[in-house]
């Protein structure tokens, strides 16, 4: 091929770039359908969202430019800071529990067990269930009148004398939101950890046992280093997820009592769609972005590494 080309240098210099451009254009055609959708539903919305956040934007009046007005108003909004606080506390409590319990369940399911598939179904499958389906069920389990399961068994055990309305006080509302959230989403981490645990070569444990290492030592020196990356990845993912908390509070408490369970995304929803202040809601969304950007960057570092590992 190259010898033929060197015999006709003139033709080659003219045609080659054109051919190459055509080839590249042809290659781009494979990407184009998705790329067009990417531009319309990812790139454009980012710019649009920024644009909206600098305007007083309701669905009735034409948008009016207010510069940093929306950001300033949200910054001075006590309700917003309450929502930030609620979300941060929720994340700080629920994420460690979710990750630790997910790991514990993965360690359990990694043992030799009878009927492992059905155990996985019980512990893991809820994460794939519709939030509304499971929330309606939990709402029924926690019912105060007629007494739901939790109230019934607690009264049976003599811990309660009267049925409790669990979503009536901030503390018990948060307690159950956290329990239900952990119950719902723990399975994702379990599945992730189980995949990582199954990659650990069994010989490592065997030789450690011969050396007389106890269960805790084996966990610390073999299991933990092997799954460390997945553990960090899942923690970061859970933090980002926790900052998106919406369905649970929307269905179970509606943000109450007295705004005690209002989260950032719920506040954004209420601002944008109950009060129709889309500009303010967009400003809230950028605050959410700022709060979790650090975790987003850690996540990016992980993704970049997984890209490299696949490219090698």
């Amino acid at each position: 091929m190259s010898s033929v080309a060197s015999q006709v240098p003139f033709k080659r210099t003219l045609r080659a770039p054109l051919k190459r451009a055509l080839r590249e254009a042809g290659a781009f055609m494979f990407l184009l359908p998705h790329f067009a959708l990417f531009v319309l539903f990812v790139v454009y919305p980012l710019g649009y969202g920024l644009f909206i956040s600098f305007h007083r934007w309701t669905l009735l009046d034409p948008p009016r430019y207010v510069a940093w007005g929306n950001f300033v108003r949200i910054w001075g909004d006590a309700r917003f800071w309450d929502a930030v606080m609620n979300t941060v506390v929720f994340a700080a409590i629920s994420v460690p529990i979710t990750v630790a319990l997910g790991l514990l369940l993965a360690l359990l399911l990694n043992q030799q067990l009878h009927g492992r598939l059905w155990l996985m179904v019980a512990f893991v499958s809820p994460v794939f269930f519709s939030s509304i389906g499971i929330l309606l069920s939990w709402n029924w389990v926690l019912a105060s009148f007629p007494a739901g399961l939790v109230n019934f068994y607690l009264m049976q055990a003599g811990l309660l004398t009267l049925p409790v309305s669990w979503f009536g006080t901030p503390a018990s509302a948060w307690f159950w939101i956290i329990v239900i959230t952990v119950w719902w989403i723990v399975g994702f981490g379990t599945l992730l950890f189980l995949g990582a645990l199954q990659k650990i070569p069994p010989e490592q444990y065997e030789s450690a046992m011969i050396d007389g290492a106890g269960a805790w030592a084996r966990f610390q020196h073999i299991t933990l280093p092997w799954i460390r990356n997945v553990l960090i990845f899942e923690t970061v993912r859970q933090v980002i997820l926790a900052f998106g908390l919406f369905d649970q509070v929307f269905i179970l408490t509606g943000g109450g009592p007295g705004g005690a369970t209002r989260t950032m995304v719920l506040y954004m929803y209420q601002m944008g769609f109950d009060r129709q202040q889309l500009g303010l809601a967009a400003a809230i969304s950028w605050y959410i972005f700022i709060v979790i950007i650090l975790f987003g960057l850690i996540q990016l570092a992980f993704i970049a590494r997984s890209v490299r590992s696949a490219e090698d």
Binding site: F35, Q111, S130, I134, V141, W286, I303
Partner: protein, 281 residues
């Protein structure tokens, strides 16, 4: 019985005990759905095995009179999920092929843009998506649930990761045989990445099936509702949330059942897909 076997039984018993307690909210949902509402709300001691057992709640939610469109909501959910899966696979597969195997100007820049947006929170897209859907006239239209998700980059990313594992030599051999890029993609790449396509199909289906906030924003009339919205409306329709608890639990169980079946059949795929997205190989 040797020591190993005894250990296995011990762990199994502990695990099964915990599993039954863990899964009890779903079991209670199923149990309640098989009782007449009056029995469910008045029994003094919770009965896990319904007696009398009735399928009337399931008949009720299917009937137009009581069901209030829940059957239609189920159909809508299926339509949206299936359309989302098929269209995403259709656009993401060639895109992943282009980003992993083909060369063109700006490829790396586009690929890394795809990666960067993976880390953006969904919240920042909500308001602009809402206004875009409004601008293009798709409010209260089921397409509004399908289209925005097609621009997401996770699927392309996942498929690309998998395609990088296809040996180069295969491509060279196909070139020698004069195979076009499109034919190569359809007849050689697609069969090889079937597991990844399966994973992506499952994850997309599950995501679409359980989506709540976005449908809540863009759908307004019950005939267009998906299952989660239909259920919320159905529950609210009884005034007192527990007056219709029998049919409500039947509806909730119907909403959960397809994903339960998918999990039982596809848990291996799901595990692989989750690992692939997180840690590459």
């Amino acid at each position: 019985m040797n020591k190993k076997e005894a250990r296995k039984w011990l762990f199994s018993i502990i695990a099964w005990g915990a599993a039954v307690v863990w899964f009890s909210p779903i079991l209670w949902m199923l149990s309640t759905s098989l009782k007449p509402t009056l029995v469910a709300t008045t029994e003094r001691v919770p009965r896990w095995l319904p007696d009398p057992l009735t399928f009337a709640n399931y008949q009720a939610i299917i009937s137009p009179a009581v069901g209030a469109g829940l059957l239609q909501a189920f159909i809508n959910s299926v339509l949206v999920a299936v359309a989302s899966v098929l269209l995403l696979l259709l656009v993401a597969t060639p895109a992943a092929y282009a980003l992993s195997r083909l060369h063109f100007f700006g490829r790396n820049f586009i690929f890394w843009s795809y990666v960067v947006v993976l880390a953006f929170p969904g919240a920042i897209f909500l308001i602009p998506h809402f206004l875009i859907i409004k601008d293009i006239g798709l409010m209260n239209n089921l397409w509004a649930l399908v289209l925005p998700g097609l621009g997401a980059t996770f699927g392309v990313f996942l498929l690309r990761q998998y395609m990088l594992g296809i040996p180069r030599e295969l491509e060279d051999a196909a070139w020698v045989d004069g195979c076009s890029r499109l034919r190569f993609l359809i007849f050689i790449v697609v069969p090889l990445i079937r597991p990844a396509l399966g994973v992506l199909a499952l994850m997309t289906f599950l995501g679409s099936w359980t989506s709540f906030l976005w449908p809540l924003l863009v759908l307004s009339t019950p005939d267009n509702f998906t299952m989660p919205l239909g259920l919320v409306r159905f529950t609210a329709g009884w005034g007192d949330p527990f007056r219709g608890i029998g049919p409500t639990m039947a509806g909730a169980f119907i909403a959960v059942l397809p994903t339960l079946i998918i999990f039982v059949l596809g848990h291996r795929y799901l595990m692989r897909g989750i690992s692939l997205g997180a840690i590459g190989k």
